[in-house]
Symmetry: C2
Subunit: 439 residues, 2 copies
């Protein structure tokens, strides 16, 4: 890739964003109103049975309704053409998202409710799947996260345009990671600031210390640490759009003497720091690179320093949903808790504190989706209808994944194994509310 254009978001990028090589309604497929064949009805029943017979009604392309075997339908899914059915039956993990984005599949009711129902139902049913179905439906290989590929992966998602993210993220610090709903009634803005505060407290930051941040997003955490804790920050990110925004904000807030935003891969971090922090980057690292990450932290963390990794995770190793990995987050892989702590085992670190904020992410995403829907016409004008539908499904599906426990959110604090300069207990994290108003 030409370095001079590598980080520019082109209009073509934007038009493809969220859809990439995703097929829109092909020219050969027409919305048809022909009668469904009897084997098509049979196939729908078969698919429903395989995913655990959830209470879902199907509306077919000609308006025919197929009711669920058992009980009353709670959701109605419309198939707008016969080929949609064949795609769903052969590759549902990828096809559902593509078909929904293209408008070839529709859902009458609350999308995240349907996704939660499907997650739970499929989880129960999949333990009884025959081998051939497992092979057919789980045919997914995530992309590489090597140095070159990482740049393309990150570009795909995070360089969609700051204006887009500003429509639905919190106004204060543009946090595109799980907020901390210290109490359930917090606003998104409050909960995101509480998250930043909670992270700073876990790192026990002291004025004058140095911090390195791997994957800094729009730079909100770095600015919060500099402003409230008086530390110096080196913040790394390979998203050009995010770095530009972060630098401008730091200048505006007169924090640029404390923060250096560095447009580089985390693997190029050098120097030694009192704290190592990464919020929402580990998902993009890939288990193949955990040993490298462990060695990096081992090298860059001072003997008495603390490190914190905040990442989406799993209860056990499992590939990310194919559609999310292919269309939304190329190369992403949320680690299981075991894979997560393997970083600490490999780096000769001592795990000090793990907190799981799973339901906080469901609430964060609910707030994001609400705002997204308020601006959906604007999003469609910026990109297109297919993009809007893809992002609606991604946000709604993620709410469901956190609600049912398919995804977790781990914050892990660790130190060098021989560091005895440790906090006596965790009470200092709770000395006062972390949400704004407490200082």
């Amino acid at each position: 890739m030409n370095p001079s254009t590598a980080n520019k978001v082109t209009e073509t990028d934007k038009a493809n964003a969220g859809s990439a090589d995703q097929p829109a309604l092909p020219a050969t497929t027409q919305y048809v109103s022909r009668e469904p064949h009897s084997y098509e009805r049979w196939l729908i029943g078969k698919v429903l049975h395989m995913v655990g017979s959830p209470p879902i009604r199907f509306r077919l392309w000609n308006g025919d309704l197929i009711e669920p075997d058992q009980g009353d339908a709670r959701y109605t899914v419309t198939l707008n053409d016969p080929r949609a059915l064949y795609s769903l039956a052969t590759n549902p993990n990828l096809a559902f998202g593509d078909l929904y984005s293209a408008g070839r599949v529709d859902v009458d009711q609350d999308l995240s409710g349907l996704m939660a129902l499907l997650y739970r139902s499929i989880h129960r049913a999949s333990s009884h799947w025959p081998k051939w179905l497992e092979t057919l439906w789980r045919n997914h290989h995530p992309r590489s996260t090597g140095l070159e590929e990482a740049r393309a992966n990150i570009h795909h998602h995070y360089d969609l345009g700051n204006e887009f993210y500003q429509l639905w993220l919190d106004q204060a610090e543009m946090q595109y990671t799980c907020a901390y709903y210290e109490s359930a009634s917090l606003s998104l803005e409050q909960a995101q600031l509480a998250k930043l505060e909670h992270v700073c407290r876990k790192l026990r930051l002291q004025p004058g210390q140095t911090v390195v941040e791997a994957g800094c997003g729009w730079g909100g955490l770095a600015r919060y640490m500099a402003r409230h804790y008086g530390v110096t920050v080196h913040a790394y990110n390979i998203s050009h759009e995010q770095i530009s925004y972060a630098r401008a904000q730091a200048r505006r807030q007169k924090l640029d003497h404390l923060i250096e935003y560095i447009e580089e891969d985390y693997r190029n971090i050098n120097g030694q720091y009192d704290a190592f922090v990464s919020v929402g980057m580990l998902e993009h690292v890939g288990t193949d690179h955990y040993l490298e990450l462990a060695a990096l932290i081992q090298r860059t963390l001072k003997p008495q320093g603390l490190a914190l990794l905040h990442s989406i995770g799993r209860n056990r190793p499992m590939l990310l949903n194919a559609w999310i990995e292919k269309r939304i987050f190329p190369g992403a892989y949320p680690p299981s808790i075991g894979e997560f702590v393997s970083i600490c085992e490999q780096g000769n670190f001592s795990v000090l504190d793990v907190e799981n904020l799973r339901l906080h992410y469901a609430q964060t995403l609910t707030h994001w989706l609400d705002r997204f829907e308020q601006h959906h016409e604007r999003v469609t004008a910026m990109y297109d209808e297919q993009f809007t539908r893809a992002w609606r499904l991604y946000l709604a599906g993620s709410i469901a994944a956190f609600q049912v426990g398919a995804l977790q959110l781990f914050q892990v604090v660790f130190s060098h194994a021989d560091n005895n300069h440790l906090p006596q207990n965790r009470g200092d994290l709770y000395r006062s509310p972390a949400a704004p108003g407490s200082h």
Copy 2:
């Protein structure tokens, strides 16, 4: 083993306790005052070099001193006979403990200081060991922890006699596990009560709930939960001495209507409970049995219940010191953090909270060793000098292991993966001091 005698501690048991099949000074070995051979001096230098040239002086059987290669000696180790040297050189992990217990090796200064020095020095040096030395010195295979063997393993250690443990454990609740030094100035009694309170808070116990405890020791946690939280407890233990004591205490404290102490292996737990707790038993379970343990908790924890496992652990997988496993804790294996959370992965649990109390255990053990030394004459009268020396080394060596980070202490809280009835945050654990006086 005859069931009628299986749980009785015989006088022979007591005499062998802590020494088991450990060789005292064999009849053929005499304390000798002959001149050391030149190859014996060479061997000492070689061994010292292999363990990283720590600043240790050797005093030989004839009084000769061998100074360390570099710097001034901080510790003096006496070898009382030539054979002690050969044992040390060929199998130091096992021999050091046996020789020290038998009085064939002696240490002039603070034993835990020497052990910490050795831990650190060996940790650094061992990465450069040739393969043959690795093979020679790490020739250890821990004992099985199957149903039958577990009974013998536990009997060996925990049935030494309640009177012995009463000499040096906390007076209040006979806690033989890591205390919680919420502040460094707490007494052992306060810190043990704070630990019990901290565990109860982590389980978010409510009056009327049911709790099952796997490996209940002398029953202190069960009584604390019943007394302060009004819960009903089924507490399992295979140590007959401990169960007898626990039952008597519960009757005396009029808590026996709330607690059932059950003399059974944890694998025989049945029923369903609001909370599953185990403090200091996982070390005795063995990784071969983690899947079984995970299935047990999966089966016995109610859908909205919380589970807590408290155990000595490691930063990475590693065998327990051979002498500790052979003479002190047969069958014991502290899991690495990865092995620990594999229990949660295997049981389809969600890890909610991990806390590492490593330095709290160093402080607990320091308090225990202080009291032990105050009563060392009484201990020798109850058992013998060899027993007293073995336990001194075990306690001092454990202080060192926690101080240098060779051992960790993990408290892990987890729930069923689909349990959404979770605490909003962890602030409630810190609402008031956990140590006594706070209620």
